[in-house]
Each structure stands twice: as C-alpha cells, then as structure tokens.
C-alpha cells in the first residue's frame, strides 16, 4: 500500500506561487528524496504533509486516509525542521523527551528511550544543557533525535545534514540508512544536494519552481533525464550540453554539432518526425567520454562511438578522479578520467576522444524536453 499520496498540491503566498500542482506517491518503507534547489518548495511540501500548512488545492493521503484538512496532532509522523525548531527554554533532555511525554509514556521508559537516542547521536554530554549553548551540529542532532525518539512510521527530514561536518554527515547518512532498514520507517528526505539524493534515495522526485519535474530511481534520473534541467541537476561533474541542429534525410536523421555529426543514438527513431533544421541540444555525461588513443581506429562498428578532436584546456584534480576540460573547436566539454590515466595529459595537449553515443541524450532546444 502506498504510505503517502500527494495529489495536485497547490499553495500560494500572496502572489508567489510556491507549489503549482505537486504529485507524488511514496511507498511504505521507502526512502524517498525530494531534490530541488533553494525556493523550489521542498519545505512547503513537507509542511503540508504534516498539516502545519494548509493547501490551497489538492489532497494529502496518509496511510489510506485523507488528512488534507486534519489536525496536526496525532499524526504518526515526525519532522526534522530545517531551522531545527528546538524548544529553547527546555534542556536538551527535555527536548528529546517532549514527544514521548506528550504521548503519555511512563517516566522510566522515557528516560531509557532518550538515553538510547542520545547515545546513538552522541549527545550524552549535552543533555543537561539548553539548546542555545549547543553547537550547530549538536543542535541538528537534537532535532534529529527528537524526531526519531518516538519512532514514527513516517519521518520527514528537511535538509537534516547541512550543519554537520563532513565526517558526521557521512556517519549520520549511514545512520539514516540503518534506521530506515531496521525500523522500516518511511522517509521523505528534502535536500538540495544531488549527491545526498543519489546516495540515499531509493526514489527521487526532482522539484523545480513548485512543480515536480521527474520522479524515478537514481538510475532512471541519471540515464533517462526528461529534460535538460534534470540532466544538469543529476550527476557530477555536470552533463555536457551542446547546441545541435537536425540534419540528414527524413528517415535517417543526423545530429550536427560544431565538431561533427552523429547518428544512431537511442533517440534516433524519436528524432525522425522533427523537420530538418530543428534546433536541438545534445547531451552526454563526462563519464561517457574516453581518450581514443589506445583503441586506435577500431571504432568503425556502426556509430557506437563518435570521435572528437579535442584539446586539453584545464585540469581539475578531484582526488582519485580528474576532470579534464576540453575544447573541440569553439565548444567546451568535460571528461572524467581516473587519476592514473589523467597524469599523461597536460594543458594544451591534443587528445582525440571517443564519445559513447548509446548513452547520449537529445533535447528540443526550445522546451528542453527529452527526445526519446
């Protein structure tokens, strides 16, 4: 059964249309990520799910029950607020105990539960203090702990890792995954960070300007982006997007770019109806570009790869991989190589590269939507 269904959710703040028809379905026990840039409407969506914001239009169905206009209290869900929203006048212990006490849990059980959570989040030493005296990272962990402590069946997380340092972020990420596995909670996780989304989400909904652009598994978003925005948002380093023109015969389309033409991509059939001269955008991942030197001339087997004559323009080492910024004529493109391969190149070198056409994307330039 679907645990959470959101249908056609609209919300305006005065003239500002924050949500313009959000639809999503979250399955029971799923780790669902709401990915979107700042002001996309992530927080607004989560607030409507828990009922603290009223929808202008649309429905929220939780556990098979329409909760659109229902009371906030008593929902079997907890939220980690982006602003933490800790109770400033209570000690951290009381903050963590608050949801349990509200549910009328026995004193001894409260103490035990709070201590468990505090230990897990390494908050033991802070329990007697007020949140105002805790560090940003500690405050964030208190917020997380307060949401986890009553083991809700749905956990809403609004950018819960932003204030943690790298190591703690890594640990907490693993902790969320473990909790998700062990407690079987459904998690809706809002983040602007694409890496976080790809590494944690079982499914991702990409939100932009109050609309969901695409929903799918990380793999689907990566390999079948529905438009240039998704292609650009998912994947690092960023996808290469090259302006192109449709050429060739009606039933044998050709995509012409400044540095050459390609055909027979996965988009070839869908491109046929487009008139010759249509403006397109050709996209490919930096991971799908490789130096052509070793393979020599054996790329003649029918359009599997495309040869591009490029020059190294810039080298960005990123630890074990290196991004090479290349220029092919006037056009810039990126290639990712393992470090041991990349050390062979220096700025200004000529590098013939092969592009794997089978993994490429094609978009209509005007609308940005995928042709496939």
């Amino acid at each position: 059964m679907s645990h959470l269904i959101i249908q056609d959710l609209h919300k305006s703040f005065g003239d500002l249309r924050a949500l313009q028809g959000v639809d999503m379905v979250v399955e029971k026990g799923e780790f669902f990520v709401l990915l979107g840039p700042s002001a996309a409407g992530k927080t607004t969506t989560l607030r409507m799910v828990c009922g603290i914001e009223r929808a202008d239009q649309g429905r929220v169905v939780f556990d098979g029950e329409d909760v659109t206009g229902a009371e906030v209290r008593g929902r079997d869900m907890a939220m980690v607020f982006q602003t933490f929203a800790l109770y400033p006048h209570m000690t951290i212990f009381d903050n963590l105990a608050y949801p349990l006490r509200q549910s009328g849990m026995a004193k001894a059980d409260v103490v035990q539960r709070v201590n468990e959570v505090a230990e897990m989040l390494r908050l033991g030493h802070t329990l007697a203090r007020k949140p105002g005296t805790a560090s940003g990272g500690e405050q964030q962990r208190v917020a997380i702990g307060r949401a986890l402590v009553r083991r809700p069946s749905l956990l809403l997380l609004d950018e819960p890792l932003t204030n943690l340092d790298a190591k703690l972020r890594f640990d907490t990420r693993a902790e969320f995954k473990r909790l998700h596995r062990e407690l079987g909670m459904t998690i809706v996780y809002a983040t602007p960070d694409e890496l976080e989304a790809l590494s944690m989400g079982q499914r991702i909904a990409l939100l932009r300007g109050g609309r969901i652009v695409q929903t799918g598994t990380p793999d689907e978003l990566y390999t079948k982006p529905q438009d240039t925005y998704v292609a650009g948002m998912v994947g690092s380093p960023k996808v290469n997007l090259i302006p192109a023109i449709r050429r060739g015969a009606d039933d044998a389309p050709l995509v012409e770019m400044p540095f050459g033409a390609v055909q027979n991509g996965p988009w070839a059939d869908a491109l046929k109806p487009f008139p010759v001269g249509s403006e397109l955008i050709f996209g490919f991942r930096p991971h799908d570009v490789a130096p052509a030197t070793d393979t020599g001339g054996d790329d003649g087997d029918g359009g599997g790869t495309m040869r591009i004559a490029a020059k190294v323009h810039l080298i960005e080492p990123l630890g074990d991989v290196v991004i090479l910024d290349l220029t092919a004529g006037e056009t810039q493109l990126k290639m990712v190589l393992p470090e041991e391969q990349a050390i062979r190149y220096s700025v200004g070198d000529d590098v013939p590269v092969n592009l794997r056409v089978e993994n490429s994307f094609l978009f209509a330039r005007e609308t940005g939507t995928a042709i496939c």
């Binding site: 828990c50 209290r73 607020f81 006048h89 509200q102 307060r146």
Partner: protein, 291 residues
C-alpha cells in the same frame, strides 16, 4: 588599526570614565536622593537655607505617616496610610495582573491568528490611549456613578486593567511575533494541544517579555493620580491621592512628611524592578540579540 579599536572596545572602563559615569548617574539620581534625605530630617532641617547635607537623622516623619497625636494630646490616631498603602498595592497589582492576562491572550491571538484588518484593530486599540486622560475622565466618572462602581475596588481595578491593556497587547504582540513559528509547529507535531503550545512552549520563552511589560505597566499604574482622585472613595484611596491631601492645611506643606511618604512609596517599585531587572533588560533588548 582595526585590531586596536576592537581591543579598546573590550577593555574595561578606566577610572576617569567610571567617575564621569558616576557623576552623571548622581545628577539623575539626585532628586530622589534629596527626597530620601528630607524624609529623615526634622522640620527645621528640611527648610534650612542653605540646604543641609549633614544632619542628625530622625524617624519622626515616618512615624507621623501612620499616626498623629489626637487633639487631646494623649492618644495616637491612625492616619489611614496603612490602608492607603495596601490599596495602592492591591489595586495596582490586580490591575496589572488582569491587563497582563488579557493582554497576553489577546496578543497571542493578534500575532498567531490575524483577523482581516488586523492592523486596524491594533491601531484602534491604541487610539484609546491617544487622548489625554483628562478628556475621558468625565464620561468615565459619570459611568462609574451610574453603575455604582465609584469608590469600589473592582471599579478602579477594572479601569486600571483597561488603562494598561493597549500597551500590554502591543508589547506582548511584538514579543510573540519574535518567536519562531517552527517551534510551535514542532510542538504540535510532537503531540501538543493548542493549550500546551501556548502555556508550555510560548509563555516560558516570554518570561523576559512578561516581566518587562509588567514592570512598565506597574510603574504607570502605581503613580496614576487623576483617575484615582476622582474614582476612589475614602476606603479605596491610593497613596498618590492621599499624599496630595496632606498638602495644605494650617501648617502649609509638611515636606518631611511628604518625603517620608514618597520614600515608602518608592520601596515596592524599587523592589519589583530590582527583582525583575535581569528579565527586564532581556525583555527590552528582546529580538535585537540573536540567540
């Protein structure tokens, strides 16, 4: 250069600065100090020219606040000031408390559940305080006569509550506005009732604001003269009114007595302000300092 400035800013004040600040403080405090000194002077010392700074203190003035000698000269008769002090405390405390309770509830409503035209309502509430009291006193006096509230405790208490309400609402509303709405939403999600949100989440965060509002309202009420003069009776008379009645008579103004009354009258306000001063400072600067 920047570093030096910062260092200067952090340094403790030197002796010169301390003396200077002390001198300014003394100038402000001098009238109060003079009154307190006068309270301990005999009639001749009080009227002496040039004014006396060194004198033998006496408690006579304080005794005569409460008792005077009877015409026969052998009995001590109560002046009624014990009652007047009680009245002042009782009326001011009740009026302020009532204003604080109603004001806080109203402010929460205005802040969290704004009506259509919220600002207009708030403005209208404030307009009642824009007129000088002398203008509204006559209709109020007549209303009190008509309803029989003249001279009763509850009449003055209600009036003082009404008198403090606009200010309490405005002040408390600004404090509520400063609170993070997310915190309240979190409490609701954590299972709190609306009542719990107000009493357990909002109010405890506003202790400082409540204290500040209470002290300001208390000072205004404590010193209020005009309404008290016209609306209290002999049993419910407050100290400012009773004090005014000691002026005049065949002996002229008894400065020592008056100073003694004022000195006693200052003690409760001093006390309350002192007790709440930490809260008070936080209340006044509320929101200007990021927590």
């Amino acid at each position: 250069m920047f570093g030096k400035r910062k260092e200067r800013g952090l340094r403790e004040a030197g002796w010169g600065q301390t003396l200077f600040a002390g001198a300014i403080g003394l100038i402000y405090f001098f009238p109060v100090l003079w009154i307190i000194m006068t309270a301990f002077k005999t009639r001749t010392d009080a009227l002496a020219t040039p004014p006396k700074f060194i004198f033998t203190p006496t408690l006579d003035n304080f005794v005569s606040v409460f008792w005077r000698v009877s015409q026969q000269g052998n009995e001590a008769i109560s002046t009624g000031f014990g009652l007047y002090f009680f009245n002042s405390v009782f009326v001011a405390a009740s009026g302020v408390l009532l204003a604080l309770i109603i004001g806080t509830l109203a402010a929460y409503g205005f802040s969290r559940y704004p009506l259509k035209g919220n600002d207009t309502y708030l403005f209208v509430i404030l307009t009642t305080r824009m007129l000088p009291p002398i203008i509204v006193i006559i209709p109020i006096f007549l209303m009190f006569r008509l309803t029989g509230m003249s001279g009763s405790y509850y009449g003055v208490i209600l009036l003082y509550a009404a008198f403090n309400l606009p200010f309490s609402i405005w002040m408390m509303k600004s404090f509520f506005d400063e609170l993070s709405g997310d915190v309240e939403d979190a409490a609701r999600l954590d299972g709190s009732s609306e009542r719990g949100v107000f009493f357990r989440i909002c109010l405890p965060q506003l202790k400082a604001g409540l204290a500040a509002t209470a002290v300001f309202a208390l000072i205004l009420t404590w010193n209020e003269f005009l309404f008290a003069l016209l609306l209290t009776g002999s049993d419910t008379r407050t100290v400012p009114v009773a004090m005014a009645r000691t002026i005049g008579g065949e002996l002229g103004v008894d400065w020592g007595l008056l100073a003694a009354i004022i000195t006693l009258f200052l003690i409760p306000v001093f006390g309350v302000t002192y007790l709440l001063q930490n809260h008070l400072l936080r209340g006044v600067t509320f929101g200007t300092i990021k927590k």
